[in-house]
Symmetry: D2
Subunit: 454 residues, 4 copies
Amino acid sequence: MDLFSKVLENPKAYQFEVETLGSCLIDSPVRIQEFLTEGSRCVLTLDVDQLSQTHEKFGVMPSFEFAGPHRKIFHDPAWSRAAIVTCGGLCPGLNHVIKGVVEILTFDYGIKTIYGIRYGYRGFIPRLGQPPLLLDPEVVDTIHEKGGTILGSSRGAQDTGEIVDTLIRMNINLLFCIGGDGTLRGASEISDECRKRRLGVSVIGIPKTIDNDLNFVGRTFGFETAIAETTPVIQSAHTEAKGVSNGIGLVKLMGRDSGFIATYASLAHPVVNFCLIPELDFTLTGESGLLSALQRRFKSGKDHCVIVVAEGAGQKLIQDEPERRDASGNILKKDIGEFLRREIQTFFDGLGVETSVKYFDPSYSIRSVPARGTDAIRCYLLARHAVHAAMAGRTNCVVGSPHNNNHSYCLIPIPLATRERQKVDLRSDLWKAVVDATCQLHYFSNGAEKNRMG
Amino acid sequence: MDLFSKVLENPKAYQFEVETLGSCLIDSPVRIQEFLTEGSRCVLTLDVDQLSQTHEKFGVMPSFEFAGPHRKIFHDPAWSRAAIVTCGGLCPGLNHVIKGVVEILTFDYGIKTIYGIRYGYRGFIPRLGQPPLLLDPEVVDTIHEKGGTILGSSRGAQDTGEIVDTLIRMNINLLFCIGGDGTLRGASEISDECRKRRLGVSVIGIPKTIDNDLNFVGRTFGFETAIAETTPVIQSAHTEAKGVSNGIGLVKLMGRDSGFIATYASLAHPVVNFCLIPELDFTLTGESGLLSALQRRFKSGKDHCVIVVAEGAGQKLIQDEPERRDASGNILKKDIGEFLRREIQTFFDGLGVETSVKYFDPSYSIRSVPARGTDAIRCYLLARHAVHAAMAGRTNCVVGSPHNNNHSYCLIPIPLATRERQKVDLRSDLWKAVVDATCQLHYFSNGAEKNRMG
Amino acid sequence: MDLFSKVLENPKAYQFEVETLGSCLIDSPVRIQEFLTEGSRCVLTLDVDQLSQTHEKFGVMPSFEFAGPHRKIFHDPAWSRAAIVTCGGLCPGLNHVIKGVVEILTFDYGIKTIYGIRYGYRGFIPRLGQPPLLLDPEVVDTIHEKGGTILGSSRGAQDTGEIVDTLIRMNINLLFCIGGDGTLRGASEISDECRKRRLGVSVIGIPKTIDNDLNFVGRTFGFETAIAETTPVIQSAHTEAKGVSNGIGLVKLMGRDSGFIATYASLAHPVVNFCLIPELDFTLTGESGLLSALQRRFKSGKDHCVIVVAEGAGQKLIQDEPERRDASGNILKKDIGEFLRREIQTFFDGLGVETSVKYFDPSYSIRSVPARGTDAIRCYLLARHAVHAAMAGRTNCVVGSPHNNNHSYCLIPIPLATRERQKVDLRSDLWKAVVDATCQLHYFSNGAEKNRMG
Amino acid sequence: MDLFSKVLENPKAYQFEVETLGSCLIDSPVRIQEFLTEGSRCVLTLDVDQLSQTHEKFGVMPSFEFAGPHRKIFHDPAWSRAAIVTCGGLCPGLNHVIKGVVEILTFDYGIKTIYGIRYGYRGFIPRLGQPPLLLDPEVVDTIHEKGGTILGSSRGAQDTGEIVDTLIRMNINLLFCIGGDGTLRGASEISDECRKRRLGVSVIGIPKTIDNDLNFVGRTFGFETAIAETTPVIQSAHTEAKGVSNGIGLVKLMGRDSGFIATYASLAHPVVNFCLIPELDFTLTGESGLLSALQRRFKSGKDHCVIVVAEGAGQKLIQDEPERRDASGNILKKDIGEFLRREIQTFFDGLGVETSVKYFDPSYSIRSVPARGTDAIRCYLLARHAVHAAMAGRTNCVVGSPHNNNHSYCLIPIPLATRERQKVDLRSDLWKAVVDATCQLHYFSNGAEKNRMG
């Protein structure tokens, strides 16, 4: 059962309220006609029955605080100093988010000191990192046109105490952490540590997960661009597959635990014939295995095949494998893409069926471009709302749009958003659409499931 | 006040229920684990307070019927014949929608006779149009890779009676109308006429409006792609503007009554300095006019400028103009883009300030590409839901996602969706973001409004 | 008869030798294994018979000096100061050329003072222009990724004497002029004036003409990119044309006197049905006019049409037209694209044939992108050779590759290169290929010319 | 010494004359003003001195027959039947070439029977292949918009006798072989076998080698597009490299024996820091090895690095390696890209220097797109000239443009073109440009070679 359903079953067991540092007493300098109505909240579910039932049963309608500019704020802009840090792998739009945060801090709130922490959380640890960049609108003017992050990034956690020491030393009261669930958990710990030390620091997360695996934040920035970026590679896989007799184009996409990218990419490109994701249980061999399914497809007269596989799919298959080492004794990485490439080729070679598996691993290419079009707007709006939330003294929360809508950005407590990973629901209409578009069930089931082929 | 607010004030004055042709008695042939829960509905507003207050005041929670596959359907697939028609201007994704409708009709419901009506509603009028195409999955296999519509399109209404005559003659009981508000009103009239004649025809609209001006249907297909397509042209406008001293890049975008494309394009590309939309009242001359604003910008040391203008912006300015005719006596079209180009150039020439206005009119280029990435998925999901709705005997409704979410597609009565145009709300955070990103208020107001520049 | 043929008829009447400032006595600091062999020259024609006959008849083989690094140079790097100026309209690759010149001057020759003249030749006139930029490898590091020119450009000549005064005042002995034939003629005059004043200034032209109308310099930078950039617009024109009944997509491309871009774009995109260039004589009305040709095409069952027209085509047609003025008395520009759009629409409206002409004017978009791929290499190689030529004391010459080959860059005296415009030869196999690919002769000639349709 | 130089030293030892099947007695049906002048030839070298010296020494000017339409032809169109075959790996433009051949055969010569042989030469062997496609202008109308080959391809030779048997059985007298040097050698053998059997079959090669390794044919189709396609991947490598501290982007490009693609891609993208090609001798370890060079770069303060490596580079390094096997005993492929990735990562890990090597292997993506812009024109012109040559009874030759010029297409005897591979000349100005643009010599030589850095 996914987190959404669990919450609906017992909303009282979950924390929907965002932490605040204190009362908002300062007039906001933002020039705007309409500030956020204080206390306005966004429903968790759109379903009328679910809303009514939950309300009846628990006397409460599970909901999130809307994000937006507050008429009164907590931090005094004149005394505020901000820091921005980017962590984890690259993602389209990182620079656009950085630009947005810097611009809103500067233009809307008049904050003059903004640090860009270098190479992730390690930039907070003096002995490890490089000194921060000083950011202003001039520095970030055109960075949105480039992929990557001007701050650099790194993986892995750092000592929370040391990070907070640095925040104190640098006199930072506004911290923006751009990253995925590890990063956000780190941000939450920083927020906790600040509270313990009675520091008035707002720690706001901006969700960056190209896997789309965070709960309640809607579509995160970069995801839409990443899907669009799969177009040329899937087209190439299709062309290569059709270029030889029984050709197979095999494309590995991102998705360690959640197969959203593979799912959406398959749906966006109806040339995909098999979509394999972590949520889907499949075997390689046997009557209902992938190899037999491929064989059936070729026998049915289709002389090419395009397979999309998420990096986290079929891990069971690889674990069963004996460990592989190279001559130097190094353990060879267990990679589902390389594994499938080899096994499929070997299988058909063994059958004497000519085939050629062309393998594509485009992840770095997909994630290192700038955000495009409406995705770029998402970056900018997330940044705006993060700044507004920080200035209003919110902390330990992440900005998102539970219903994926430009007018429904909310603040979600980090512990709730990162409680577990969001996954593709195999019973959803979304997955049904993939099954329809690929016809894969037909081949897996030997036609027993006639899906689309009846 | 926009339609959304009006509805919230008095929901009882509006019709939320979708017409149905009769009871659903036939078992659906769709193979799926989870059918739609009958009667499940989607809230109109996400705001907890609005929901509560409306509920208290009117005893009702305004909501839409969720779209999705029904366990029982109305039309017998074995006896069903479908027709698809595309009307109005091109839009990214038309072919993808057509492909989706054909595939779901065929694979999910086993319907074998599907007509593609040629060149819009006139394809229903034998003396005007060409005979319909016969569509099947083979015919539509790769059409999604091309822009435009394989059916062709045309503008303008045709006689409703004649259209229904043709439906009868061709024995069509499922009609899919892909178009904007004019097309949908036409669809509504066809549905009415069918009811009068006691014909069991489902008429389902699939909303196509690159202007995004329909209510309650969320983002329509093609919009996202159109925004992405503005990138090269806005970059070129920026480059050309910077290429000469005091250069001006002027880009006219679509948006006859609603400036969403100009708004989003400006937000996605922070190089835009002025965004002019139909909803915004602006003058050309005078202290707070556009010309003075441009002059102020150049005087402030910025030696270039990018202006985005929606085609429907500033109509008041052109109406005031004397009618222009060419030597043959033809009335010259009043075009805000050409008008601004000429007026700006003349103004600065008159001042002896060297400038060069480079004018871009990319509308045809933007709308004639195929849908990309997540936008392509939108096409496919809209098509699926349109077919499910039709098979369940719904009629006179349009498919949409009021909250712009892949799991909240709904059916909206056409009269409600087309009651008035959706517009950009100048008090919204969205427009505030544009004002921030462009800094245009600063120049319009001679710095009185210090927006972002204080 | 084109210049090439004229030269072959009487080579002695033309000047092939490049002016030099004096003997090359200084050791080149360039580190390279193979310097240019002094005196090595490149043949004018590739044709064995032409070579033999010319040699026999005139005792000379018309040829150009090869470009390349010289072992001995004229200018002392330690005393040298360079200036770069970009003139005329934008063209892909301008920044890449600037970068190349700066890098070779710096890295190969150790020259430290390099001025970037602002906004064309007017940057040399103190009362008109802005002060020059100081250029170094840091400044130009990533400029090649952007279209346009970081220096800015302008059109029109300036007083040669004043320009030379500025060269003297700024102590510049190396001048790189990037522009088309007007710019190069200006460069030639500067060179002449320097010689008159006995100044040792090398004036080297780098040919920038997106129209490809300079003689003997081969394909100029930007042309290849421009052709590639026509792809989306011609595809859109095709899609729009097919989107309505008898639709016409009309694309105006650059080419004031020489139709190379229209020719190449038509050849690269076999969806083009008519290619109209300045070199081609065509009429609008009458049996063999364009309107009848279009009519024939529609009658033959083809229900759409794509027309590519160079901006300089059919000028005769517009000159015959009465002058058009707008209501304010301004003369309306005679624009062949707008003219054709109106005349074609009017013609078919008059016939009662439904059509819709969609007009595309993409010139600014095509020319404002950065150079791509092999075209980017051309920029860099042209820049290298320009610097080598300048250091070796060559002047009043332009760099080019008469045979369009990366190993045959030559120096061509500017007076020869700009003597007349290069044009598309209607008797060439290139134009025959266009006629074949478009089939336009078939429609123009009412099938009398059966080209490709017999 | 390269083949070009060898030929100049002793032209008489090489065969420049193209084989012909017999006298051309039939009037060409091509409608054109200017046919090729019979006997006109194109010089081998552009250098005046080389031409004179060779002429003096050998009494001959080494030259190739110009390609073009002949006034008299050998094959009677009414009796002619053609076949087209595509072999080897994919390459941009294959479909465009096929389209061109079909169109010229049909429209210019009125030939009605054109076979598309499936999946390379094996399509000629009945027991192995699928039956041929019948091609006509309708079938090939839009294929140029897709990458790959509609015919399919395969690698490897087939029995020449069996192929000729099939030609006889199918009554084919015009054979077009599109492929690289292996394919062309196969074509040459087919031509020889036909001659032996006294069959009047014209066998014409159209050179397809994305590696650009054929002699005298100039730039082959697809190369230009391939270079342009490296842009996004090299940009991504650069972005990824800059995204982490001491990041390294490693891109493997095609080029088994000749490093042209790596060379051109490095030159087109000045972000490349090291370009490694088969022609370049380099070591991994030691003072002047790649690892030390990288270390020097990082120590010099540059905290990222982009490396482009041709697949055939550094083979010596891999051969020295002990054979590697996986757990199943399979020999692991020796892949210079994977090898460098591992070695570099291991090296810096060993030093305790944090780095992250991001590896890109985009070959399939680069070669599976359609040809673009001027490259598309090359496809069409090659196809035209191949057809003209075939109709004029030429055989055992390949079409090319020795000087890479649209007006100098020639016919080159296959044995000469495939005699040895064309390679990058490390003493050329082209390679010098790469060394300059990358500064790699500076790091390899520990600054002893100061190239560009002095």
